[in-house]
């Protein structure tokens, strides 16, 4: 009898162990490198997040959770002491400790080609206290510290030190739930479950990411059952996938705001023809007229097929600094015309709107829709839609009078757009790099700088909201259009939860 029980138990064990489970994911774009500190780009970060751990990690709603750091204290505004997880091994068997953390941060700081410098720029020093405690000293009080750390994948010092950039770019060794198996460039990346992952082995033994950049191809792959999950479902295919009884679709509001900005610093702007010869955008009434005059509901309904959320402010509601009291104004072309007349442009003016045509969802079509909205209030808008490789260098030189662009608050904190887009352009101190309409208000700058170094969450949010109140509601420095939405489709065989940060974190997929 006992023997029989053992045999049955063994059989059951074989039964559960026998079939290796594989999760196949079809992605709209693949990884550019396996070096987690080279190219800071969503698709690469998303794939590598399965191999590498960070000190702290976002959950699906961009709340910060412990990861390789188990706990932390903030004894002084500029000092953070972090206790590290013990007994964690890298995929090659090396032990994880404080040396690896110090090494990782210094590599980003010292390597000229790293795209992650912005994440560690406020960190002045990283020190090892003992094998499992590290101390961070920031240049000034830095409330977004923890959120920035979610972008720093921890490398193994013993593995990486002395290796060439090329080698590191092909040999990712982390502590995460999956280990690297192979990478066939442009085709697929294969990972296998790390049996020693500190939180327990992942449910799927194998993880395959396939690059299916063509929309129709991606849809065909999920419909034919070749992959279990796809991201960036083409809007036109959502209905078809919904009608398939074997598939689920998911919609998750993202962090990216699509907005318009205009030249607010030149008396004569290069791409504007106005009756007075003066740049009309210098007048806040003209800027406000644009806000009233854009039929955003129509853009969302007809161009985005309802897969976008009309925006009333800089960041979506999950982001720190969101202000529930600011609502989007109602589409009102009559009021827009009145404002234009008050500003001295009863017959409008003409302007060129620059927009990328391969960067954001339907970017060129949105620009066209803006142009037709503007025509109704008498402003002649000519759309100049170009590839992103032309668009970004052009706007970076302020060689534009009016442009459509996007910003993702990827830290989940409002400071990212406040620093990068709203603050006056200040290359020396690193503010306003994307403020290419060069809006500038010293009051706003002061509030932003104060909030950037305010460790009291309540008064900090108050400052951020006040800055937004002045910049957006009073000065109308940008015209918010909408927040993008992420759409996924999965097989009903798996349990998938979409994430705000748009990453595919396979460990949570059941």
């Amino acid at each position: 009898m006992k023997k029989l029980t053992v045999a049955i138990a063994a059989l059951a064990l074989v039964g559960t162990m026998g079939v290796a489970k594989t999760l196949r994911v079809g992605l709209a774009s693949g990884a550019y490198t396996m070096d987690p500190q080279a190219f800071n780009e969503t698709a690469t970060n998303s794939i590598l997040s399965n191999i590498f751990d960070t000190l702290v990690r976002f959950d699906e709603n961009i709340k910060v959770h412990p990861d390789l750091a188990v706990s932390w204290t903030n004894p002084e505004p500029t000092v953070w002491i972090m206790k590290l997880r013990k007994g964690v091994k890298f995929h090659n068997g090396n032990t994880f400790n404080a040396d690896d953390v110090v090494f990782t941060f210094n590599r980003i700081k010292n390597w000229k080609k790293s795209g992650f410098k912005g994440k560690v720029s406020m960190i002045d020093k990283v020190e090892k206290i003992n094998d499992y405690t590290v101390k961070f000293i920031t240049k000034k009080a830095f409330p977004v510290f923890l959120r920035k750390l979610t972008y720093v994948d921890i490398l193994d010092k013993e593995t990486v030190k002395g290796k060439s950039d090329e080698w590191i770019g092909l040999h990712p060794i982390g502590t995460g739930p999956y280990e690297f198996v192979f990478w066939r460039k442009g085709d697929q990346i294969k990972f296998k479950a790390n049996p020693n992952y500190w939180a327990g082995k992942a449910k799927f033994d194998n993880l395959i990411f396939r690059v299916l950049s063509n929309n129709a191809t991606r849809t065909a792959a999920i419909l034919s059952g070749e992959v279990d999950l796809i991201n960036r479902v083409p809007v036109v295919d959502v209905k078809r996938i919904k009608n398939n009884s074997k598939l689920n679709t998911f919609v998750k509001p993202g962090l990216r705001l699509i907005y318009l900005q205009m030249d607010q610093f030149r008396k004569k702007s290069p791409y504007i023809k106005s009756p007075t010869g003066i740049n009309p955008f210098l007048d806040v009434r003209v800027r406000r007229a644009l806000y009233y005059g854009i039929n955003e509901d129509a853009i969302v309904k007809y161009i985005m097929k309802s897969f976008a959320v009309p925006a009333a402010q800089f960041s979506p509601s999950v982001v720190v600094g969101y202000d529930p009291s600011i609502k989007r104004v109602k589409y009102d072309p009559a009021k827009a015309k009145k404002l234009l007349a008050e500003a001295g442009y009863p017959n409008g003016f003409s302007v060129v709107l620059d927009a990328p045509n391969n960067r954001y969802i339907n970017d060129a079509q949105i620009a066209q829709a803006v142009a037709s909205s503007m025509a109704k209030i008498g402003i002649k808008v000519k759309v100049n839609a170009t590839p992103k490789s032309t668009f970004f260098p052009k706007t970076a030189k302020q060689d534009t009078s009016f442009f459509l662009i996007g910003w993702a608050s990827s830290d989940g904190d409002g400071s990212s757009i406040l620093d990068g887009v709203i603050h006056s352009k200040d290359d020396v101190r690193g503010y306003g790099r994307y403020n290419n309409g060069k809006y500038s208000n010293p009051k706003v700058d002061k509030l932003i700088e104060e909030s950037d170094a305010n460790m009291n969450p309540t008064s900090r949010v108050k400052e951020m909201r006040e800055a937004q109140q002045i910049a957006l509601v009073q000065d109308q420095n940008i015209i918010p259009l909408h927040f993008q939405v992420d759409i996924y489709a999965s097989s009903k065989k798996i349990k998938f939860t979409p994430r705000t940060d748009s990453r595919i974190w396979a460990y949570d997929i059941r």
Binding site: G169, K185, G225, S389, P393, Y434
Partner: protein, 316 residues
Amino acid sequence: MLKYILNRLFHSVIVMFVISFIVFFIMFKAGDPVQLLLPPDATQQDVIEMRHALGLDQSFIKQYEAFLKNVAKGNLGTSFVYGQPALNVVFERLPATLELSILAMIFSILFGVPLGIIASIKPKAWYSKAIMFLSLSGISVPVFWTGMVLVLVFSVILGWLPSSGRGTVYLFTSAFTWDGIKHLIMPVLTLSFFQLALILRLTRTGMMEVMMQDYIKLARAKGVPRRVIVYYHALKNSLIPLITVIGIQFGQLVAFTIVTETIFAWPGTGKLIIDSIQNLDRPVVVAYLLVISFIFVAINFMVDVLYTFIDPRVRM
């Protein structure tokens, strides 16, 4: 012969030198890749540092000079985006594209030539007309449409063939495993439709012309069997223009598989070059175009050599 080869080699080097200069110049003018390489939250300081690290803060002449010096050492530069040697990035993707192009070419020749001959012998027969009708659709239907219809029918509806990807790869190719072959069928078919139709039509025209020649009439009068006339005398003489076109078309296939590669998510160089142009990844774009022009030059050379074997009247 040796003099001829050396001469051709010298010309090729000049062609590739000119190409490198033009591409380098266009990519230099196209814009600043650093704006695309760094995330929005990078500061101006980071931008300046990276520009310096990549050597992009130098003048055009200085940058091109540095490029030439590296080329002399066999190094085409490091990709801005992938961080790997540009030539490696291209060579990693090249087998997939070559595999697709070679198989599509073989398929087109294997079916195009015999069908062309059949259609030329009895041009008024119903099957000849059917062949010609199909070849017309092969030439006029866009590749994108053909590919998508194949995917819809054989993957989504019937579920017989995988819709995309390369499957199992063994020794640089998918052609040695059943899984790999299943992945190859639809891309190869899609890519070969146009070529097949073109080769078929060329064969037919060539054959019909040759069949009117006096030496064919003489052979017939002598009582040479019809099979010998068609497959030996006539076919051999209609091959020269066909080989020229096949040579040119093969180069085209390698360089323009992009549409087919996109539909079937085939990891070849077509997709790579589009991505690299979009990201302003100059070293990869230059390396790719040099490799492709080398292939073109090599094919033209081989075609020239083949001529002399087929037609002794052609002299080098």
